[in-house]
């Protein structure tokens, strides 16, 4: 009987941002350990809808298939999550698959997450180690800082935290939890801390950390279990000290 078991998948399709969105339903052969990416790949192999109409393969982003590249975040049964770790056996059917709603749509399930990468540039989410001469060894990092930093470094920029945040929407350019958490990571690094105030200042502009309203959805949605609310609180403290006391203390 296992051979005839079917998986019903509904995909929201849109040929381009200007075209109207429509739903297509597919019936796929069940396989053990099947995930949503396998469903999308099976559709690409045989792009025929449940009622027998020929269609095109679905456009989507994915790469590593092990929740490490961050590219396959999408809405699965209405929730933001990684398609590679969304197992069919654990999902209610028909499985509804939609693109993330907070980023500009490219086609079908492919969205443009450039906003996140621009925000990372805005807060200088890197450690400057290049110079015109040899800068020598950096300072040692205490095991305590290493332990705090490691979970933050797991961020895969998937955008799930932005997707679930009520404060990220078309009215508002809020950079979102992932970027704030990266500010914390690079500010706690002894070399990264050389740009600490620049990062903090970048977060007191439009769409900065003040837009966070503490709904705390980000920390629930994060596939990497990053302590995002802790990061936001810590960075918030650094930012208000910089913003409100900076003119007094320099």
């Amino acid at each position: 009987m296992a051979e005839t078991k079917q998986v019903i998948v509904k995909v929201k399709r849109q040929a381009s941002p200007k075209d109207p969105a429509r739903w297509e339903e597919f019936s796929l052969q069940w396989r053990p350990s099947m995930n949503v990416i396998i469903c999308l790949r099976d559709i690409a192999e045989n792009p025929v809808t449940r009622d027998g109409k020929k269609t095109t393969p679905i456009s989507y982003d994915s790469n590593c298939l092990e929740e490490i590249c961050g590219s396959c975040a999408m809405l699965i049964n209405g929730k933001a999550r990684m398609a590679c770790s969304a197992l069919v056996d654990q999902l209610e059917q028909p499985i509804r698959i939609e693109p993330l709603s907070k980023f500009p749509l490219v086609r079908d399930l492919t969205v443009d997450r450039q906003f996140m990468f621009e925000s990372l540039k805005r807060v200088k989410a890197w450690i400057p180690i290049d110079g015109t001469y040899n800068l020598g060894e950096g300072p040692r990092i205490s095991p305590e800082i290493q332990e705090k930093g490691y979970p933050l470094s797991n961020c895969i920029s998937c955008g799930s935290c932005l997707e679930v945040c009520p404060q990220v929407n078309e009215h508002n350019q809020f950079v979102g939890a992932a970027i704030i958490s990266q500010v914390r990571l690079f500010n706690m690094h002894p070399t990264g801390a050389m740009n600490k105030s620049e990062r903090l200042k970048a977060l007191m502009g439009p769409g900065g950390i003040q837009e966070c309203a503490n709904a705390q959805n980000c920390v629930h949605a994060c596939p990497k279990n990053i302590p995002l609310t802790e990061s936001i609180a810590e960075v918030n403290r650094d930012v208000w000290k910089q913003a409100l006391l900076g003119w007094l203390t320099g």
């Binding site: 200088k124 009215h171 200042k201 003040q210 609180a233 403290r237 913003a243």
Partner: protein, 218 residues
């Protein structure tokens, strides 16, 4: 992105001011207000003495406008602006924090409307000289009574959840454990304020003064 020092954005400063005014002076005033009105639980005379003392403080108008009315107007008005820029998604993601986010907006609006009405009836109409008798008379109207109860519950909830928000947003409760503790503290404040507020209402409604035994025997 310039390398040189930039000033915080106006929206940053207004957000921080909004968060701060919720605690000081608005939250502090709610505490003072419940404390003073609790004197009704002792006796009508005690209530009238306390309210007359408050009605005769020096620089009264300046204090009322500067420390109570204007901060409340700003907190409420800017709060509505914040609400309009957010997009609640509690039906998709029904997590506790998300519920608080949504309820914080509705209770804020209810409290704002209630406080406006409350000021109009108990401050403006009586020219700032309300007595126990005025309030007790109003409480006989079931609609007044119901609006009082709703207003007290909304304000207390909003303050309790607001204290949690404040402690998280200013980084005073940063770790997960600290934020949980801040949440419990906020809950205690919310429940305590609700109970005290309802007791005060009952005191006026039923001429009930459970602490009258504190008074010296005449």
């Amino acid at each position: 992105m310039s390398f040189t020092a930039s000033q915080p954005d106006t929206s940053y400063l207004l957000r921080k001011l909004h968060s701060f005014t919720g605690i000081l002076p608005v939250g502090a005033f709610l505490a003072e207000h419940f404390w003073s009105n609790s004197s009704a639980l002792v006796s009508p005379q005690r209530y009238n003495d306390v309210s007359q003392e408050l009605q005769t403080i020096p620089f009264r108008l300046a204090v009322e406008w500067g420390a109570i009315f204007l901060p409340m107007l700003f907190h409420g008005g800017y709060g509505i602006w914040i609400w309009l820029r957010g997009k609640s998604n509690v039906s998709d993601y029904p997590w506790a924090g998300n519920w608080l986010y949504t309820l914080q907006r509705y209770t804020g609006l209810i409290a704002f409307a209630y406080i406006g009405w409350h000021l109009y009836t108990e401050r403006w109409l009586t020219h700032g000289r309300s007595t126990y008798a005025n309030v007790a008379e109003d409480m006989q109207n079931p609609w007044y009574l119901a609006f009082f109860v709703v207003g007290i519950l909304a304000s207390s909830f909003h303050l309790g959840a607001g204290i949690w928000n404040f402690l998280c947003k200013w980084g005073l409760a940063a770790t997960v454990k600290a934020q949980q503790a801040a949440g419990r503290f906020g809950a205690v404040v919310g429940v305590t304020f609700s109970l005290v507020g309802i007791l005060i209402v009952l005191s006026f409604r039923f001429d009930w003064h459970p602490f009258s035994a504190y008074l010296p025997n005449k």
